[in-house]
Amino acid sequence: MELSEACGEGLLVRKIVEGTVVDHIPPGKAIAVLKVLRLWPPKPDGYRVAVVFNAESRKMGRKDIVKVEGHHISREEAAALALVAPSSTVNIIRGGVVAEKWKVKPPEVAEGLLRCPNPTCITRKEREPVKPRMRLVSKEPLKYRCVYCGSTIGQDEIEGYILV
């Protein structure tokens, strides 16, 4: 429902036939979403992407929306998305209709997604083939703890430590 509302705002964003619509992004977080989906900065040969800032939302007041044409985002990408925009909904569009829809969920264990903030954590050691691993300790507000050194990353800091 809210997708069509956003389109009804008079913003000239046409419907997509194949692709992904990320809806219910907290206002102001669309660029962060593009970054974790590796769509920012835009590449000349990249996907066609539409971004709506500050769309009206009954649930959220204001929200951002990201539409990606020609790419169905994976569950793994959605997990990374959940770290910067935990309220997001993912709509997979096939043949012009919503084929799948789900709310993103912050992963219980974020592996390879977040850099540990502690410079003397083993996961920060150069040339060491170790993936940073963070365990979810709180969903609201979002908080992760490094499995190796115990350092934590809170909701407000997460964007700065995203690895993807």
């Binding site: 003397t120 954590c121 083993i122 920060r124 060491e128 170790v130 490094c146 499995v147 115990g150 934590t152």
Partner: protein, 311 residues
């Protein structure tokens, strides 16, 4: 008695239950009897100390040899291929191939857990950065158990660098497995325990409060002292200002403390304890140091020993 320890990694004191620790303490009481059985006969333990250490390394070495085993000692990054650019993962694979267990000390937090993920042999953490020093915490809790018959119901002060000192952090985490009456955290504001440690203490239900030494000295059964390092203070004058409030003197103890108070320290100590305390009945840190070997013997026998070591 120690079946559950066989083959286990020893990364954090919180990897153990209270029951397992109590079993270990009991085993440590009779550790000297193991000398004649030589339960580690034919076994090799790698002591990989990437960071300087004398006592922890020597205490492990003594424990392994007294149990009839032998050690491969690698110390300092220059002694191994790390200096040639080898990463820790490859060094651990090599040690894993050459030995039956690996004791590791490293300046990076999480290095022991990482080593344990790589090695098939059990890995024992001999200190990783500012994070864990589980065998020291075992020794501390064992010492208190020997001196007081247990840890429950005691009032314990932990003084010094509670932020960067891994011995103090591990001791505090270890206390959460028991039920002390109260734990006082005594440190300058910049050396308070890290948030994640304080959170863990709260979640695990430890009764603790931050306090000044003189406020609480009269209540304490145990005073656990750690060194405050000058280099932790960006401003040397700030260090000079606080150091006096964290120095334990004999006059202070005789004037305020309970007669039965025991002072512990993971050692080495510098000037945080008046040397006159060494000769007083308050001193328990040399007892604590002596208990390091039997405790580590019991642990190694548990982790590496075959069937019937304790029967």
């Amino acid at each position: 008695m120690l079946e559950s320890l066989r083959g286990r990694d020893v990364i954090s004191i919180l990897d153990f239950t209270r029951g397992e620790l109590e079993g270990l303490f009991e085993a440590a009481d009779s550790a000297w009897k193991l000398i004649e059985y030589r339960p580690l006969r034919g076994r090799l333990v790698a002591l990989a100390f990437f960071e300087p250490s004398t006592r922890t390394r020597m205490s492990f070495e003594s424990a392994v040899k007294r149990l009839g085993g032998d050690t491969l000692v690698v110390t300092g990054e220059e002694a191994i291929s790390v200096a040639k650019g080898e990463n820790l993962a490859d060094t651990i694979r090599m040690l894993d191939a050459y030995s039956d267990a690996i004791v590791i000390r490293h300046r990076f937090e999480g290095a022991a857990l990482y080593a344990a993920e790589i090695a098939e042999a059990p890995v024992i953490n001999g200190g990783d950065g500012r994070q864990h020093h589980p065998t020291q915490a075992m020794i501390d809790l064992y010492t208190i158990t020997k001196l007081f018959g247990g840890v429950d119901g005691l009032t314990i002060g932990v003084l010094g660098d509670l932020r960067y000192g891994r011995a103090a952090s591990s001791f505090l985490l270890g206390l959460t497995l028991f039920k002390p009456k109260m734990v006082y955290l005594i440190s300058p504001p910049q050396l308070r325990p890290r948030e994640e440690v304080l959170e863990e203490l709260s979640v695990r239900g430890l009764r603790f409060k931050e306090a000044g030494l003189m406020e609480v000295l009269a209540e304490l059964d145990v005073l656990y002292v750690t060194r405050i390092q000058r280099e932790r203070f960006p401003d040397p004058s700030e260090y000079e200002r606080v150091r006096g409030s964290y120095r334990v003197t004999l006059d202070m103890l005789e004037g305020r403390a309970k007669k039965g108070l025991k002072v512990l320290h993971p050692l080495p100590k510098v000037d945080e304890i008046d040397p006159r305390v060494d000769e007083s009945p308050f001193q328990a840190y040399f007892i604590q140091a002596r208990l390091g070997v039997p405790l580590r013997m019991a642990l190694l026998a548990g982790v590496l020993g075959g069937d019937g070591v304790w029967s």
